[in-house]
Symmetry: C2
Subunit: 246 residues, 2 copies
């Protein structure tokens, strides 16, 4: 299994997508899926503007790529009613994630990195329990439930179709590129942009096929989540560190 | 927590729904949700004809009941294209199940019994491994993935809202009421109508609040799935037995 050359990134305008664009450009040829907010790109980038819920366009978006980093999610704005937000979750996180895995299957794309979240097991944390990839899901929100769906779907596509699928339970992601500096809202629940990009690359270049659920957190995160499986599975360990707990 | 009096059954025309109607009528006052196929009912039954995907009607359907047995699923007919079937799964099994849990939350219905399936962990069986409620999901189909979503959703409603939620991983269900006779297609993967009805009643009458994932299988099923948690959690053990493996 050779290293992938062309990488489709969904949700490429988001915080995580912006980090991957910056850190992985040059390492892979990028095809970037944007929804409505289109940031400046580089001349060598390919750009697709579409909705994850649009099945036919997702099929086209996957044509000719070697791997997908599926980051696209429903985001909401202040004032959105709850029911409208759930509707968006259904359309984007659930139907959209199905569309992406189907695109991978039909386009014979062997590797998918799926942006999951620590909220899939958020209720352990609410009860002050450390969690691990081996525990049953305990989502703390509809967002977490929708990501639990994506993880189950990814497991199915791995088992049934032999795809490599990595579900990264991403912790609090910074909106700046600063590392090794205090990050107040999420002490010890922080993932640096550099650690995220390296984790993604490690998944893309790991032995194939594999399935993995990995907590994406920088140093300090091991207090809340078992991060140890990533080293064996894909050869990744966090390099950056959030602020210590007060 | 008193025993529920009025029970809403969704998917009441199906195989499992028909069994619950027959065995639980008289024990609970029944409100029956039918989609399009409406069988004969008894004068004391309440009837609602609607689509699980219709949120407003699901809210109304839950008004005044004490518990829900949510059995409704997308069924398909020979010749349906795959993509159309997946569309139905999204609408009925995913959005419909969300609608039912929301109806329970808004109507303050404390107990939901959710018809899940052994296909949530079907890949263990494909690899000749016995599975248990403590193992991570490994669905063997989109149907199984959709039920994994329902289980994650149920866990969230239990943790977040204090509902009692039981996810019954129902094995092969007979289309006759015959018990203790050979059932060729699903040896040792069979659930009798009587065992299913009694399991449902045990869940409805168990201490509250609880969350449980229970394999619904008659005797013999313990060869494939760990059935032992049901006795402690809700006081249920299967009474009937399928044919032994050849």
């Amino acid at each position: 299994m050779s290293t992938p050359k062309k990488l489709l990134i969904t949700g490429a305008a988001g915080l995580v997508g912006s980090a991957l664009r910056r850190y992985l450009r040059g390492r892979y040829q990028l095809r970037l899926l944007f929804h409505s907010n289109i940031p400046p790109v580089e001349p060598e980038d390919e750009v697709v503007v579409a909705d994850l819920g649009d099945f036919e366009t997702m099929l086209e978006a996957g044509a000719g790529v070697d791997a997908i980093a599926h980051l696209g999610i429903a985001t909401t704005k202040p004032g959105y009613p709850n029911s409208r937000y759930t509707q968006m979750i259904m359309d984007t996180n659930i139907r959209g994630t199905y569309n992406i895995f189907e695109s991978a299957r039909i386009n014979k794309i062997p590797k998918v990195v799926f942006a999951s979240t620590n909220h899939v097991t958020g209720f352990y944390e609410k009860e002050n329990q450390r969690s691990s990839p081996d525990l049953l899901v305990r989502p703390d929100s509809m967002y977490g439930v929708s990501k639990a769906f994506g993880e189950a779907l990814g497991r199915y596509y791995h088992d049934q179709y032999g795809m490599s699928v990595y579900c990264l339970r991403i912790a609090n992601f910074p909106n700046t590129d600063t590392v090794n500096t205090p990050y107040e809202p999420g002490r010890n629940r922080w993932l640096s942009a550099r650690d995220m990009a390296e984790l993604t690359a490690c998944c893309l270049e790991a032995p194939h096929p594999q399935f993995g659920i990995i907590y994406g957190a920088s140093k300090g995160g091991e207090l809340k989540w078992d991060l140890s499986n990533a080293k064996e599975l894909v050869g990744w360990e966090p390099q950056d560190r959030g602020a210590p707990d007060a």
